[in-house]
Amino acid sequence: MRPAKKILISMGFKSTSSRADRHLNMIVLLLTGFTILLLALIVLFLVAESWPFLSSGWRDGELWPDLFQNRGWYPLEGRFGMSPMILASLAVTLGAIAVALPVGLASAIFLQFYAAPPFAKGFRLLLNLLAGIPSVVFGLWGLTRLVPLITSWQPPGASLLAAILVLSLMILPTVALTSASALASVPRELLTGSMALGLRRTTQIFHIILPAARSGIANGALLATARALGETMAVLMVAGNVVQNPTGLFEPVRVLTANIALEMAYAMGDHRAALFASGLLLTLLVWLLSWAAHRLNRHATEALYG
């Protein structure tokens, strides 16, 4: 706590409080309480709606088989094997990160160390512009440009590959921008020091700058992973949506989010509960990712100041 704040508190900030202050305190407290209630309701409703599915699985001891053995997704017959869609979600997400991270990192290095200032400015502008483009527009572009291109090479076209390419294009601006800001926040002395030592550019970048910016880059990558995992429309439009284990790059797949969007309109009873359960699963995965990012931040802060 900074000294100014300490003085404020020791002087008793509360002692100057007027009636208006008490009213404001009441109002914001009320708003906060309302928001907490609303956000608690989200979790409550997700669990409550998926409860029939979860509890029936527990009772018969069949939840794990349903999730992880391939019993097929036949909602009308009461068979809710989600594993092909979980695998497809993971494959699409990992594929998109595997494409976007190296390319995005390389463009960040280019932006930070190689580009001429006016070009870097234009590049940054383009990345910012594209980071704000709705995912449905990327989906539309993938459907009308990319899928026909892949079809002419390896039919049917709408496939794992198309989903990976569209998603990686979508998260590329985010990855590049966060990596660039991580590189920019590396202390200047490290760079000047390594220059003074006469290190080569390659050594500077790979042995000095990248390790120093590691946690910032990883943080951006985790954010992008969460976005790729949760993306619905862009994947739904180009992935072909056949429920099957992802065996090849050119096979159509259906991911968890797309499954919810496709079937929610007519799902009833257990089927609806199963869709809510897959939503819960997505939330859990995102929670794991943000936990990892949180740990990473703490380690980075400790390494810096600890």
Binding site: M1, R2, A4, L8, F13, T16, S17, A20, D21, L24, I27, V28, L29, L30, L31, F34, T35, L39, L41, I42, F45, L46, E49, V103, A106, S107, Y114, A115, L126, L127, L129, L130, G132, I133, P134, S135, V136, F138, G139, L140, T144, L172, A176, R201, T202, L223, L229, G230, E231, T232, M233, L236, I260, M264, L275, G279, L282, T283, L289, S290
Partner: protein, 277 residues
């Protein structure tokens, strides 16, 4: 030698990124401009959207956005003020609230759609309507908005607070006349993030605000948002690609326009209450 190879490599990657992004952008602009006209903006869609325009869809989109912002902005500002000014700064509650909000900010939009369908459409009985769509989006943008505003308020230097105290200002007028105006760039950033996410949202609206492309008669009517229209045209309507690209162009321009509007609104709102050196 290695230096030169690395230089080539990163330049090639940058070129690849620029060219593919320009390809997407150019496609949207070229295909969109070919199909767009004033008539397209203001007439109703005909023949499942192949012909006609997007008039009612624009109206529905703006209504949904308006509802979402009208709910999320006051709530979000209140929570942000409470978290940064009233709550115990380093208490456990604030820490866990921040983590919870960060997690909720990352939850996929389709999960908010599931919640909106279960709570607003079914439990509260609002059905497929603009109101349930807008409220769902409000829940979706709330965590991000709170976190950006809170970070902005926290970043305001304590000198402002002690200055206000020294002048004998009450806490509420200090917040209203000093802290909020100083933190207004963060509020604008939060607004822009929220507007961008809400206007671009498709998945959460599919089963909360529905699919109907008529002009909505009231807030309890179902209405189709622009992003949903693009999805429907490209996936379910053969020969709808031209109209889909035109709608995509309108959507991108709409987001840009709204961002500029938000920026200038917040600026003019706070300008009269504070003159910064």
């Amino acid at each position: 030698m290695a230096d030169r190879v690395l230089g080539w490599l990163v330049s090639a990657c940058a070129l690849l990124v620029v060219s593919s992004l320009v390809w997407v952008l150019a496609d949207v602009v070229i295909e969109g401009v070919a199909h767009i006209s004033w008539q397209f903006l203001f007439t109703a869609p005909e023949d499942a959207g192949r012909a006609g325009g997007i008039g009612p869809i624009l109206v529905s989109t703006l209504w949904i956005l308006l509802i979402a912002l009208a709910v999320a902005v006051p709530l979000g500002l209140g929570v942000a003020i409470w978290l940064s000014e009233f709550a115990h700064r380093h208490g456990h509650f604030v820490g866990s609230a921040q983590i919870t909000l960060d997690i909720l900010a990352g939850v996929p939009s389709i999960v908010y759609g599931l919640f909106g369908n279960a709570f607003f459409s079914v439990y509260l009985g609002l059905g497929f309507s603009l109101l349930s769509g807008g409220l769902t989006l409000a829940c979706m943008i709330l965590p991000v908005f709170v976190r950006t505003c809170e970070t902005g308020l926290r970043a305001v230097s304590d000198d402002w607070r002690s200055g206000a105290l020294a002048l004998g200002m009450s806490r509420s007028s200090a917040i209203w006349h000093i802290l909020l105006p100083v933190a207004s760039p963060a509020i604008v950033a939060g607004l822009i993030l929220g507007i961008g996410r809400a206007t671009a949202e498709t998945a959460a609206l599919l089963f909360t605000s529905g699919y109907v492309d008529r002009m909505p008669g009231s807030l309890l009517d179902s209405g189709r948002a622009l992003a949903v229209h693009i999805y429907d045209l490209s996936m379910n309507v053969t020969g709808g690609d031209g109209a889909a690209y035109a709608s995509a162009l309108v959507l991108v321009l709409l987001i840009m326009m709204l961002n500029t509007l938000a920026q200038s609104l917040v600026d003019s709102w706070f300008k009269r209450s504070l003159v910064l050196p």
